[in-house]
């Protein structure tokens, strides 16, 4: 962390950046995001295993953009999001400084997004055993049980949209749930509205989700909504050969392979 702080101080004092987006102590022992604009405040930066929120979400927020050019403290989840955001033309190389950070708090500097992409090759985006187990558990239920499980799970949702606010990929100025011509998703937080919101959210994250769990961590009800996107990730990997965020041409659902699976088509 020492070298991260040192670099952050350097960047601020040389005015190479105007703000450092990083983690700091929050209330109740939970870290929160910090937006450090003075060299003196650099000391407040922390990094530990509790730092799970995906800071990349701030790169596209107008309030943060107003502060000026940022440097961002970036563990692997954030790096993945940066690559996906760059691919989706939401951030430019020249607009940010990326302060990569290893799990043991070492600084990794990057000269380009391409360098981030090759760094990430050592961190394959894969579901861990526990995640796979949960997926298998749900998939192993009967159709009726799965339906009951998800209607029950999603009945907790009261559409606060914290999941959306925490997700680095939910940067749209006007989300589809706010489109009312037609009103695709019923506004009220009843079962249908909840169900369709979460289905649409998962579909919109297919091939874009970086599996950072920010949505789940942000959910005040602790809904397992991240398992919808995890399922999508597993399916994309297994059936369509998806490997993770990349700067190369094409998104999972806006490209195709003529030999894609079609055993379900008559």
């Amino acid at each position: 962390m020492v070298d991260v702080k040192k670099k952050a101080a350097e960047l601020l004092s040389s005015e190479a950046v105007k703000v450092i987006i990083g983690y700091t102590e929050g209330t109740g022992g939970k870290p929160r995001a910090a937006f450090i604009q003075n060299v003196a405040d650099v000391e407040k930066l922390i990094f530990n295993s509790q730092c799970v929120m995906n800071l990349a979400v701030y790169l596209t927020k107008a309030e943060i953009k107003k502060l000026g050019k940022p440097a961002i403290v970036a563990p692997v989840n954030v790096l993945r999001a940066i690559i996906q955001l760059a691919f989706e033309v939401q951030i430019q190389e020249s607009d940010i400084v990326v302060l990569g950070i290893t799990p043991d708090e070492k600084l990794v500097e990057f000269q380009s997004f391409a360098a981030i992409e090759s760094y990430l090759e050592d961190f394959k985006m894969e579901l861990d055993a526990k995640e796979k187990e949960t997926l298998a558990k749900i998939s192993g239920m009967s159709l009726e049980e799965r339906w009951a499980y998800w209607t029950e799970e999603l009945s907790e949702c009261f559409k606060c949209y914290a999941c959306r606010a925490a997700c680095p990929m939910c940067y749209c100025h006007k989300c589809a749930v706010e489109q009312n011509k037609p009103q695709w998703i019923p506004v009220a937080a009843h079962q249908l509205g909840n169900m369709e919101w979460h289905i649409m959210r998962a579909m919109h994250l297919a091939g874009r989700c970086v599996n950072c769990d920010a949505c789940h961590n942000a959910c005040p009800k602790g809904i397992n909504l991240n398992f919808l996107t995890k399922l999508m990730l597993a399916d994309a990997q297994e059936q369509l050969g998806y490997t993770g965020p990349t700067l190369k041409e094409g998104n999972l659902l806006s490209t195709y392979n003529p030999n894609d699976q079609e055993n379900f088509i008559k």
């Binding site: 989706e88 033309v89 939401q90 940067y171 749209c172 100025h173 006007k174 989300c175 589809a176 489109q179 011509k181 037609p182 695709w184 919109h204 041409e249 094409g250 998104n251 659902l253 806006s254 490209t255």
Partner: protein
């Protein structure tokens, strides 16, 4: 508030015999927003259309639902009728009560109920219809013709004679294509070069035609009326503006062992060469792959012997960009070689040749000056066997189709052989004789009856060499499959006509589709045989499927007429059923967030980028913009767009949503 008119057609009895049309019309009258509803015997007839027009005026209708046959049939008819009555044509939709209801169901209550449901859903869709205006696209009146065989020559001349500029691109050093290789042509036996070469010269001299030989299409961008083509002019190493075509260079060239493409490998050419004496242009190029200087760095004999100093070894490929409004693809075909046939010796028997090689043997300009001689020893064959359908109509070889020209040219070959070798005996093994065409059947009969060609109906199982003879073993299926064995001096295979080897790559450059044999695909097998699925790109000749000269020429003139029709207008009107990116009031300007994931979803590369600026000229954001010349209206981007920022006119989100929501209303 919508005022929809519903017009239920009986279609004589086609609909009314199974659907209670009166009930449909009466029920529809009660739908929310329906101002008028009526049934009538024939809606598409003049009185039927008048009824609609009158109702639009009398009832001040804002939308029309015609419940009749398939919209694929009569949608344009009714949209036009509405427009004539002052209602925007795109405010009219059709319910398919005939093909999708009355013709596929029995007369039951359910059938009428279904009809009512179908009407209801279209009423809801029409409520969300918006008036649309056709899109106007300017047209650049120059045509690009790719391929300088007879198809490309004919098409170029026809377009040029209509007064339009033509750019003709040919990858070989000369135009002429396969037709220039042929000896005589069926069914008249007139000399191929005699009828072709005047046309070749006409192309070269035509003031409206720019000819680029030894050139290929590098890339293509744009859309109908407004294509931008990059053409690679391969380095000829000879400055044609200086060259006199005297021939001093190629007579001195030491690389003399290069199989001649023009003579189908039956003799050789030099590295600096003119492909054949009547070539257009009649000036040489250097084949770099076989030139001693290019390969080994020494020689330059041609340069030393060139008096005008036309040889320049340092010439490089040049890429030029041209603007064209329409394109005709005339890249022709290839024929399979003898090496494709293990059963006939894999091409290792010198005297087993292809039909194209026989053309060169029979041609007065060929390697034997028109005498039929065996490639192996130059002897005149006493017995000759022609095998039709060599590869064609043979699923085991992966060529299921009929190559179409072989029956006729095989009859011609046998006839030419009999004319040239009076004592010779000729045999034709065939599966069926396909001689459809003016004077074709008569031609084949002449070969059999007057020239005594022996036709044997059956397939040849094997050809092998024995004591200097070619043993041809087959069966005569008209004689109960009796085995036939012929000791022949020469065997001619009517090998299958196949797509040009570069056709797949070219199709991808052009964004046109092709079939599983890699022939280019026409837009409709019957009604759009010269169009492709890409507007403004047309086809002629054997690049679409094997065909003979008269058919090719006819198709070439057809394609030329399509181009001329396109160029007869200054702007093109297109159906406005295309995608649009929404625009909103500031500060958002559009709900598009500029992720551009739609770029790769679009099959037509129609998604462009547009900067949105404030009054001071600062860029606020960059959003997607649909090029209305390129968009074909598939709507893939619409279903893909997360923010619902792109919509497709005619099938908008609101239209489709309301149609689905109405469909299940009880």
């Amino acid at each position: 508030m919508s005022r929809i008119g519903v017009f239920v057609c009986h279609c004589g009895e086609n609909i009314s015999s199974t659907v209670d049309v009166e009930k449909v019309a009466q029920t529809a009258a009660g739908f929310d927003g329906v101002a008028y509803s009526v049934d009538y015997k024939y809606m598409c007839s003049d009185p039927g259309q008048s009824l609609i027009k009158q109702a639009i005026k009398d009832h001040n209708l804002t939308g029309v639902v015609v419940s009749a046959c398939s919209p694929r049939m009569h949608e344009p008819t009714f949209r036009k009728a509405c427009a004539e009555a002052g209602l925007n044509g795109y405010m009219c939709e059709m319910t398919n009560l005939r093909e999708h209801c009355s013709w596929v169901h029995e007369r039951t209550e359910e059938t009428t109920e279904k009809a009512i449901d179908l009407v209801r859903m279209l009423v809801e869709k029409v409520k969300n219809d918006k008036p649309l205006e056709p899109i106007k696209v300017p047209i650049f009146k120059t045509a690009l013709v790719i391929g300088g065989g007879i198809a490309g020559i004919q098409t170029s001349l026809d377009i040029a004679n209509c007064g339009h500029k033509v750019i003709l691109v040919e990858k070989e050093p000369s135009i002429g294509g396969h037709m220039s290789q042929l000896s005589e042509t069926f069914p008249t036996l007139d000399c191929s070069q005699c009828i072709l070469t005047p046309r070749m010269v006409e192309v070269a001299q035509h003031p409206n035609i720019t000819l680029y030989t030894y050139s290929e299409l590098e890339s293509l961008e744009g859309y109908i009326g407004n294509f931008k083509a990059k053409i690679r002019k391969k380095a000829k190493s000879v400055d044609h503006s200086v060259c006199t075509g005297c021939g001093d260079c190629w007579t001195k060239c030491p690389s003399k062992k290069i199989p001649s493409e023009f003579n189908a490998g039956l003799d050789n050419r030099t590295a600096i060469y003119v492909p054949f004496p009547q070539a257009v242009p009649n000036k040489p190029v250097i084949d770099k792959d076989h030139c001693t200087y290019y390969q080994k760095g020494k020689c330059r004999l041609c340069e030393k012997n060139c008096k005008p100093g036309a040889i320049h070894f340092d010439l490089e490929d040049e890429i030029i960009e041209v603007e064209v409004g329409g394109i005709v693809v005339t890249t022709g075909f290839d024929v399979k070689g003898t090496d494709f046939f293990p059963e006939y010796g894999y091409g290792k028997y010198k005297d087993v040749i292809t039909g194209l090689q026989f053309e060169r043997l029979a041609s007065a300009s060929g390697p034997t000056l028109g005498e039929i001689k065996r490639p192996s020893d130059g002897k005149v064959p006493e017995k000759i066997v022609f095998i039709a359908c060599a590869g064609s109509r043979d699923p085991a070889k992966g060529i299921d189709y009929c190559s179409k020209i072989c029956c006729m040219y095989t009859a011609k070959h046998a006839m030419l052989y009999q004319h040239k070798v009076h004592t010779g005996k000729s045999y034709v093994f065939y599966m069926d004789i396909r001689a459809g065409g003016k004077n074709y059947e008569e031609f084949v009969r002449r070969a059999i009856e007057e020239d005594k060609v022996n036709y044997v109906r059956g397939r040849v199982s094997t050809v092998y060499e024995k004591n200097g003879k070619l043993i041809v073993k087959g069966a005569d299926t008209l004689m109960n499959g009796q085995p036939v064995e012929i000791e022949a001096d020469m065997v001619v295979l009517a090998t299958a006509g196949v797509a040009n080897c570069g056709s797949e790559e070219l199709a991808q450059k052009l964004h046109v589709s092709y079939d599983r044999y890699k022939f280019f695909a026409e837009a409709h097998p019957k009604l759009k045989p010269v169009e492709t699925n890409t507007a403004g790109i047309f086809l002629a000749g054997a690049c679409q499927a094997p065909k003979d000269i008269p058919e090719t020429v006819g198709m070439a003139s057809g394609a030329a007429a399509k181009v001329a029709a396109l160029f007869s207008q200054d702007e093109l009107k297109r159906e406005p059923l295309i995608a649009v990116v929404n625009r909103q009031m500031p500060p958002t300007f559009s709900s598009c967030v500029g992720c551009f994931l739609c770029e790769t979803a679009c099959p037509y590369r129609a998604i462009e980028r547009e900067e949105i600026k404030d009054r001071a000229g600062n860029v606020i954001k960059t959003i997607a913009k649909v090029n209305d010349g390129l968009c074909q209206g598939c709507g893939t981007c619409v279903a893909f767009c997360r923010t619902k920022s792109i919509d497709i006119q005619g099938f908008t989100n609101e239209q489709m949503y309301s149609e689905v929501m109405a469909l299940l209303n009880d």
